[in-house]
């Protein structure tokens, strides 16, 4: 490659020594793009502090993003009067924790079996699991409602097991159908593949069972994959609303997203909508803020390899 000295002069300073003096212009595009991504949420949060009439008026100008006018936390107190928000939050946290927790176990085992073990039917199993990625939940919701209402369950009443029918109106109907996840299995399988096979073989020679290899070798080496899957399965469960509307009738078992529906009355109280949506969004943002470094680096090292 024939190179002109000019191209080196251009590329060099941005990458090398004298960057201190020239670093601030690099923030300009970063800040510009940041504004694009943050403004709707800024609008949500600012609106949650304003009375309804002002929200509807401010939405026509940049006042929508500014803490101007009559600010108060009235909307928040109204929200807690209208909706059992803390109860909903507890339900959601519980359901999300269950789905993520069991999902990590079930899907990582499947990912292990599909990536590191040789067995007949593996190819077909992998194809079927990947094919399920194309089924959006909404399209099978109706048969699913009918079906979960017919499923049996064992309940312990005074320590005596009794067989009951129907999963509606429970926590389990919000949890169990979402534990197995093709995308998670895929990510685990990809990550496990990158761990050297020799480790397994050495352990086999030492007499370790395959299950021991999974538990003692593969899992401890796969922290980033577990972190990635945890975050990616956390989000859809936190945000699910169609399914709970259909299968959860008791107010005491409803998750946070159903609470949004409470505010669309004859006269929608927009301030309260904004306060409630802030209430259910901010925990996720904080969670992400705390774990974002781990998340990005874990995806990076989980090395998404097609």
């Amino acid at each position: 490659m024939t190179t002109s000295p000019t191209s080196r002069q251009i590329s060099d300073p941005t990458h090398r020594p004298s960057r201190r003096s020239r670093v601030w212009p690099r923030y300009i595009p970063l800040v510009g793009v940041a504004i694009v991504f943050i403004f709707p949420l800024l609008f949500m949060f600012m609106s949650s502090l304003k009375p309804d009439a002002q929200i509807l008026a401010d939405v026509r100008s940049f006042r929508a993003f500014l803490p101007v006018g009559e600010l108060s936390t009235d909307n928040y107190s109204a929200v807690f009067d209208r909706v059992p928000a803390w109860r909903f939050m507890a339900n959601t946290i519980f359901v999300v924790a269950m789905v993520v927790g069991f999902g990590l176990i079930v899907n990582s085992m499947a990912g292990f079996a599909l990536s590191r073990l040789q067995w007949r039917g593996r190819g077909i199993a992998l194809s079927i699991i990947l094919a399920t990625l194309i089924v959006p939940f909404e399209t099978i919701a109706v048969p699913m409602v009918w079906w979960v209402a017919k499923l049996p369950w064992i309940e312990f009443q005074d320590f005596i097991p009794t067989l009951t029918t129907g999963w509606l109106n429970t926590y389990r109907v919000q949890i169990i159908p979402f534990i197995a996840n093709a995308f998670s299995i895929f990510l685990f399988a990809q990550y496990f593949k990158s761990i050297p096979k020799e480790l397994d073989e050495a352990a086999r020679v030492d007499g370790a069972s395959w299950f021991t290899i999974y538990r003692k070798i593969i899992v401890p080496l796969s922290g980033p994959a577990f972190a990635t899957v945890a975050i990616l399965t956390f989000l859809p469960v936190w945000n699910s609303f169609l399914w709970p509307i259909m299968v959860v009738q008791q107010e005491a078992l409803r998750p946070v997203q159903v609470g949004v529906q409470y505010f669309f009355q004859l006269e929608t109280a927009w301030g309260e909508v904004m306060a409630y949506t802030s209430f259910i969004t901010i925990p996720v943002l904080l969670f992400f803020l705390v774990f974002q470094r781990a998340f990005v680096s874990s995806i990076a090292s989980a090395g998404v390899k097609g």
Partner: protein, 299 residues
């Protein structure tokens, strides 16, 4: 002797362990994905209604014929879904890569920016759609931005209520909402490219563009496949944005296949027909996925 025994014994425990470890996931899939899909398959050839005292009857391919011959909304949903997918895949994929390149620098506070770009990804799509409905409305934020920036020379339209802008508005909003995720994926791909390759390119005196074309892009190939497949599948399932922002209007401009299936199955209670629409959808996505797989595997 040794060679005769060795492949035998381990293979059988390996076989058994394989089945056992995949079993929990397999059972859950069988119960909560495959069964409903089979039910959908059966429903699609019947006239089952959500609420009806009549016994269901077998209709053969009637539902499928109806979709393609007597249901203009279905045809519109097919068209919109394809347009959406064809536009958003390169748009969101490309913007994601652009952001990843932008964010892949070692300067102070870069993590904060990375987090901000990711914020829409972690926010509920229902909430985002509601917010954008405000932004897009005739006297909303977008239009006041347009007239401010152009000093009143230009004024925007009623974005979501105009047949020629409604779908583009939903596309733009969806790309905005999802791009952070693919930025992180691209970023992870970028970080797997060894620094030594860039140093070698520097020594050869490559321009930044040449470095991108000959080092970065080839190194991103596996990431590219992953991004392509995930955006495509998500694109076909488009549902919440039109549900909240337009309900498929105006004049079917934003109706999508999944939205149409849900409306048909729930509001109109035509379970059998909705199942047929879902089935057509599965086949479409399957075919597109297989084509993508083939295309990306060949080179």
């Amino acid at each position: 002797m040794l060679t005769a025994i060795r492949p035998h014994r381990p293979a059988s425990t390996e076989e058994r362990t394989g089945w056992v470890m995949v079993a929990p996931a397999a059972i859950l899939f069988a119960l909560f994905l495959i069964t409903p899909v089979i039910l959908t398959l059966i429903l699609s050839v019947t006239n089952v209604r959500l609420i009806s005292p009549n016994p269901p009857s077998f209709q053969g391919v009637d539902n499928f014929v109806r979709a393609f011959t007597a249901d203009p909304t279905f045809l519109a949903s097919l068209r919109n879904t394809l347009i959406f997918a064809v536009v958003i895949v390169p748009l969101q994929g490309g913007l994601g890569l652009g952001l990843a390149l932008l964010i892949n620098q070692k300067i102070r506070g870069i993590n904060a920016f990375r987090t901000i770009y990711f914020v829409p990804v972690v926010t509920s799509m229902v909430v985002l759609s509601m917010l954008w409905k405000f932004i897009y409305q005739a006297d909303g934020l977008l239009n006041s931005l347009i007239s401010t920036v152009t000093f009143g020379a230009l004024s925007g339209t009623d974005w979501l209520n105009n047949t020629s802008t409604a779908l583009p508005a939903i596309i733009a909003m969806s790309a905005w909402a999802g791009v952070g995720f693919h930025m992180v994926i691209w970023l992870s791909g970028l970080q797997t490219i060894p620094e030594s390759l860039y140093e070698a390119a520097d020594l050869d005196g490559c321009s930044p563009w040449q470095k991108f074309a000959f080092v970065t892009w080839p190194g991103l190939r596996p990431t590219f496949v992953f991004v392509l497949v995930t955006i495509t599948i998500a694109a076909f399932s488009l549902f919440i944005q039109p549900l909240v922002m337009t309900n498929g209007g105006p004049l079917n401009a934003t109706v999508t296949i999944v939205l149409h299936a849900v409306n048909t199955g729930f509001s109109k209670q035509q379970t059998g027909y909705a199942a047929a629409i879902s089935l057509i959808f599965f086949l479409l996505v399957l075919v597109v996925s297989l084509i993508q797989r083939r295309l990306t595997k060949e080179d």
